[in-house]
Subunit: 250 residues, 4 copies
């Protein structure tokens, strides 16, 4: 393991599920994963430091520094499932670094007998979205039916450009190691932090984990602002219909 | 070995020949190698994962992900020769990565007592080609006569810019390890996927492997389209003869 | 340890404090640290060579070459405290290299039972400064009170862009290893080598180390020139008030 | 050792001197070193392959490939001194790679009890030179007198930008290891392959190695062409005197 892992504690976990919630397109995965982690009262138990993160520390409100890192948090769902969240403000800075970090996370999680890997991300369309789909990608096709029942959409061969970074690599590595995994991607324009897309992902996760009664108000409020923004963009485009035809931007 | 090698099976192979068929100029090597592999009903037996490939997975039509990798496939020729194909959609992303991957492939193949290394590639000219030559480069000069009999052309000191990537490195490494090797390069404009150039390479390989009765129809159909394209370009150039004089483009 | 460490001597040090004084914004940290080291008559005892420095040697006035490196110097303060200075003309050339070098320095210093890590740097504002503050960042918040008494200012969450390079990483790594550390950042425009900002940092350090009677004349003379420069810039801006409104430059 | 070293033979060498003759400014070092090696009838005994060279092979006139590498050649001078030449068409492709290669070469040479390291290079001025000096840089100042007697010039603190690549690193590493070393830099405009500058370096080397009666005709002929070129540039500049004032170009 190239990374330096510092443990705050070594929790005993039974067949935990790993949820990856790192920054990405529209920050959908991070927002969704952080929301679930906070809702479950997750507790940080390890920090992963690496030459593959930016070489810096960030001072907090107490002027105490925090070195760029990824963190592992654990929680238990209402239906008794142990979960580990991979959280942080950074993905690896280079392609090689992303691979090494994913390898190291996988090695840690396999030492915990990880039972499943769920990665969260955005599915960028470059267009304003009214009702974001949640798209899925799988480590094996037998996982599809169960997810479709929860409202996940499967778009053959998509995204064509591949799933980049931790969201992709961790599913790929779980697949290699014979562990079930899937990626949930919230449809997003990718133009801003997309809480509405994240909420769509959260709704799928709450069904998986028996968290249907979780309070979504925070995400709903932020989603409403995105709705207003979407309406404004549409109105502007209706006035200048040719702009609308430009369609895909990013 | 830096790469992660996952075996689907461990075939017993007798003095196998390695054929490298990765992407490159005009994709000549990949098209030719994949055609031979498919014609022989090759079977995948190993996947090579590496931080030196792009950090991503690509979903297939079942939304099942595939991590960027190279693959080893094996087959037996009509005349009983075991062959291993190095296939994939990627070469290493960096110069260092290409070297490491070639080293790792060579190490795997030497564990199988590889008897010969044949790498396939394109020989880019930047000009439309009527009848593509197949050029050769060798690990030792004694290999030349046999290949000339099969129609391979030898152009002293060419390509001047060297043979880049796996097609070059694997011959170099076979040479270092005392294993015979040669590179077959189909002449190509390099402007598009060149099935006609690939067919020229395939014809040499069919002679080597006793596959003269293989059905080339698929390649012939695609080659015909390239002929039509070539005619169109020539016609256009005849109308504007000065454009023709520009000659070399790429 | 990836670095090559060559020792001129192996001094016996009691609970030394590490002071990092490498180049950075306004060169504040290097100027301040070098001044303290020279004032205490510090002696070089080790050179750290690395592939992460530029691949070169620099000839001195005797035409004797010096390979790019970092150096460790030791000294004792008037109040009997052993200090090790990390000095040099280079930081690591890449993000990964900076991390590795900080790791290696930390490993060396932990073999000396380092008791505290103080890193020095500049706090760039992009504006001419009359009386530079010295800002602090901490490995733990309990260190704050003592430094505030010495005139260090604490600006919550600042610098927002983080503390980059050795000044940040060494505090982060001391924190990880349970060693107290703080970073002193002299406020600076960042437009030139800022001896005035460095003098402000030096004044804090002299209080920490009982060096209040050190002769600051060299720094005062250079600070005066910076004052003159600042006045000229202000005068010029007063004549062209709109330029002044541009405010932040760097 | 990261490099792959393949030995053609393992010569017995007594306290050999290493001469580095790799490409660089004006190719002065390579031309001079290759000339001396050829004059002494040097024999290749090892090839150094590395991921730090370009990932390619180059076909020769027999269409036999040669993988990018550095080579070690040995020879004996008229006065009985064993010499090893570091030759090739490449330096390491990256800063890190250059460091690693220099380290590996040094490790090989120390296994041969190398007694001295002489690196050859160009000293670029950006101006046409009539009579190129040979400048020196040293691992220790005591080496200066002997070289001055041979006509080497010492320019304090020069080159200010440092000596980059193998010519610098190998002297730096010999210094670290307590081995005498110096760099001979032929003054050159740096605008073209400078055989005249190389001849100046060769003349110093012939004095060191008792080769005063070596036939310099090849270098003299090429130098004469450079003289003619220099005269033409001067004449052109005299006609357009303002161009001359532009002075430094590169």
């Amino acid at each position: 393991m190239e990374s330096i892992v510092k443990y705050d504690s070594k929790p005993v976990l039974k067949d935990p599920i790993l949820i990856e919630a790192l920054p990405g397109i529209g920050n959908v995965g991070k927002i969704a994963g952080d929301f679930i982690a906070d809702s479950l009262g997750a507790v940080k138990f390890a920090s992963i430091f690496s030459m593959n993160f930016p070489p810096q520390v960030n001072p907090d409100q107490d002027c105490v520094v925090h070195m760029a890192c990824n963190e592992l948090w654990y929680a238990k769902t209402p239906n008794g499932q142990d979960i580990v969240f991979l959280r942080g403000n950074y993905q690896g800075s280079t392609p090689e670094g992303q691979f090494i970090l994913a390898q190291d996370v996988m090695e840690i999680m396999m030492s915990y007998d990880v039972s499943k890997v769920i990665t969260l991300g955005g599915y960028g369309t470059g267009q304003m979205i009214d009702e974001p789909h949640v798209y899925g990608a799988l480590s094996r096709k037998e996982l599809r039916d169960g997810l479709e029942e929860l409202g996940v959409t499967f778009n053959p061969g998509e995204p064509q450009a591949g799933i980049i970074g931790a969201a992709g690599l961790l599913i790929g590595m779980s697949q290699i190691n014979g562990i079930d995994g899937f990626c949930l991607m919230g449809e997003t324009s990718g133009f801003f932090e997309d809480h509405k897309s994240a909420m769509a992902v959260v709704k799928v996760l709450t069904k998986i984990f028996g968290m249907e009664d979780v309070d979504l108000k925070e995400l709903q409020d932020k989603s409403q602002k995105i709705d207003e923004l979407t309406e404004q963009v549409k109105a502007a485009n209706n006035e200048k219909p040719k702009l609308n035809e430009l369609g895909y931007i990013g």
